[in-house]
């Protein structure tokens, strides 16, 4: 078991129900109260804790206030509709919110229904009250403090806490005695790491020159999906879109301050991608390439691009890369240069792969998108490819090369959070050779 690091200083605790399920549950308010009472009793049966229900008028004074909420509800932990997160509670403490216990009102709260009909309120309530009393999640099996919901635990009158949870609660509030409550003694176990007495001062960051490029103009040199985040490179700067979909900053960061090991004066990156097998990150600049382990270039680089063995259909060695990405649809690596592309099959332990047979092929095989893109990433639903050019991007869905409609979208608006008015007009879809003629249109 794990303790949260705080507990109530008294053992007589008040609880109050502020609201009841409104949306999908068929439980009546009195049934809900009965279930919650028994869920608290599970904890007080084993310790010196005593719980007292308070009236609505006194609810403000209650340590444990219970409510059924949905979506955003002003505590920083929004619920997410049916499934997903079910409930949460705040650990003991002095603030008003401590001890509050919230259940997602968009769940179908039930009691003793078969698994799959709904979510058993008693089971979840016992777990959440564990938090409200000072227990963290446990990896022990069995333990009611395991974070995952695994179906109803049984009857409210006969349920017994697993030993892991009994030990945890007794560490905080002592073993149940017949006499009045006795405060727990001795240090909490396991001991929590000591926190620094004073917060460390923030380290200074060298700000990029305010003369940096305008993100709303587009024209990115390279775009890459690295560790599930999207990096947009332009000149000596880059922007970074986190997995949450927000930019780390509207202002760009300096490439040399983050990606260590590129030559001084680097002011254009042709393409970047993350390798599938070992997570190394490849930077292509002109006729050279670098291999990065995380944010630091590995020793021995740059090396000549010719090591990739890419020859044009005319037999000429490729001297520059326009785009590179791993297509999630099939796991192959694709490299574009000029109006041709090569496919690679990565093998474990191989730093530079060799092009697959029958390549290069014409980039025009990717219908409806620019044949010489600024860069390409695989993103979104399995196998979707995003082609970037100028201030636009095109999406080929689900591993396709040849779909009916491919429309350009605004990179500025959709990725760079620019107002639509500054994003400029969208181009006409290039290389769009398909024609759909139906009897009705």
């Amino acid at each position: 078991y794990t303790l949260a690091g705080s507990s109530w200083e008294k053992t007589n605790l008040r609880w109050s129900v502020l609201s009841y399920p409104r949306l999908f549950s068929t439980l009546s308010p009195s049934e809900v109260e009965s279930i919650l009472f028994h869920a608290l009793k599970v904890w007080s049966d084993n310790t010196n804790l005593q719980f007292h229900s308070t009236s609505k008028d006194e609810a403000k004074q209650a340590e444990i206030r219970i409510s059924f909420e949905r979506s955003l509800h002003d505590d920083g932990y929004p619920f997410d509709g049916k499934g997903g997160t079910l409930a949460h509670a705040f650990f003991p403490g002095q603030a008003e919110i401590n001890g509050d216990t919230h259940f997602d009102d968009e769940e179908t709260w039930t009691y003793r229904e078969p698994d799959g009909v709904g979510t058993d309120l008693f089971t979840v309530a016992v777990h959440e009250f564990g938090h409200a009393l000072g227990l963290s999640h446990s990896s022990a099996d069995p333990s009611i403090m395991r974070p995952y919901y695994q179906g109803p635990v049984g009857d409210i009158t006969s349920y017994i806490l697993p030993m892991d949870d009994v030990q945890a609660i007794q560490t905080l509030y002592g073993v149940k005695m017949n006499s009045a409550t006795i405060p727990p003694s001795g240090p909490l176990t396991p001991r929590l790491p000591e926190l620094p007495k004073t917060p460390r001062p923030p380290r200074g960051t060298v700000q990029p020159n305010p003369g940096y490029p305008d993100r709303c103009e587009g024209g990115f040199d390279a775009v890459a999906n690295i560790r599930g985040e999207v990096f947009f490179f332009k000149g000596p700067y880059f922007w970074r879109m986190q997995r949450s979909g927000s930019l780390v900053s509207l202002a760009p960061a300096s490439i040399k301050n983050f990606w260590m090991g590129l030559p001084p004066g680097t002011n254009k990156i042709d393409a970047v991608y993350e390798k599938k097998t070992d997570g190394h990150i490849i930077f292509f600049i002109g006729s050279q390439f670098w291999v990065f382990k995380d944010t630091i270039a590995m020793p021995g680089y740059p090396r000549p691009l010719s090591e990739w063995g890419m020859r044009t259909r005319g037999g000429r060695m490729v001297e520059r890369v326009d785009a590179a990405f791993v297509w999630a649809h099939n796991g192959h690596t694709y490299v574009f240069s000029g109006e041709e592309f090569w496919r690679f099959t990565e093998n474990q332990g191989q730093i530079v792969p060799r092009p697959d047979a029958d390549y290069p092929r014409s980039a025009s095989l990717w219908k409806g998108v620019p044949s010489s893109p600024d860069d390409i990433i695989s993103w979104g639903k399995a196998g979707d490819t995003y082609f970037f050019k100028g201030n636009s991007y095109w999406v080929l869905k689900s591993g396709g090369l040849d779909q009916d409609v491919v429309s350009p979208n605004s990179t500025a608006t959709d990725w760079m959070f620019c107002p639509t008015s500054t994003a400029g007009p969208l181009p006409v879809t290039p290389n769009y050779r398909k024609c759909n003629c139906g009897i009705n249109n």
Partner: protein, 89 residues
């Protein structure tokens, strides 16, 4: 086998951050999650959930991540505690 689709991968990383296995993105330091750090986080999650420790977002792991659960993190780092303490102050 193809790599997990980026959105699955992203969601996996989000899940690991949300429940305390990965440090949350820190715009101030702008640090990048290391490959080793991500594998270690996945292993820790798998160990906590009683799954086979592969360090990969395999089918069993993704299935576990989709199970209904409590919103609270499984791992509360000292960094989070410090942040909460600062916020409270």
């Amino acid at each position: 086998a193809p790599a997990p689709a980026p959105d699955l991968y992203s969601r996996g990383m989000d899940w690991l951050s949300r429940y305390g296995y990965l440090p949350p993105p820190d715009p101030r330091t702008g640090r990048l999650q290391t490959k080793e750090g991500m594998e270690s986080a996945i292993r820790q999650m798998q160990r906590f959930a009683g799954l086979k420790e592969t360090g990969k977002l395999d089918e069993a792991t993704l299935k576990q991540m989709s199970m209904p659960r409590c919103s609270l993190p499984d791992i509360v780092s000292s960094e989070d505690r410090l942040r909460k303490r600062r916020k409270k102050r």
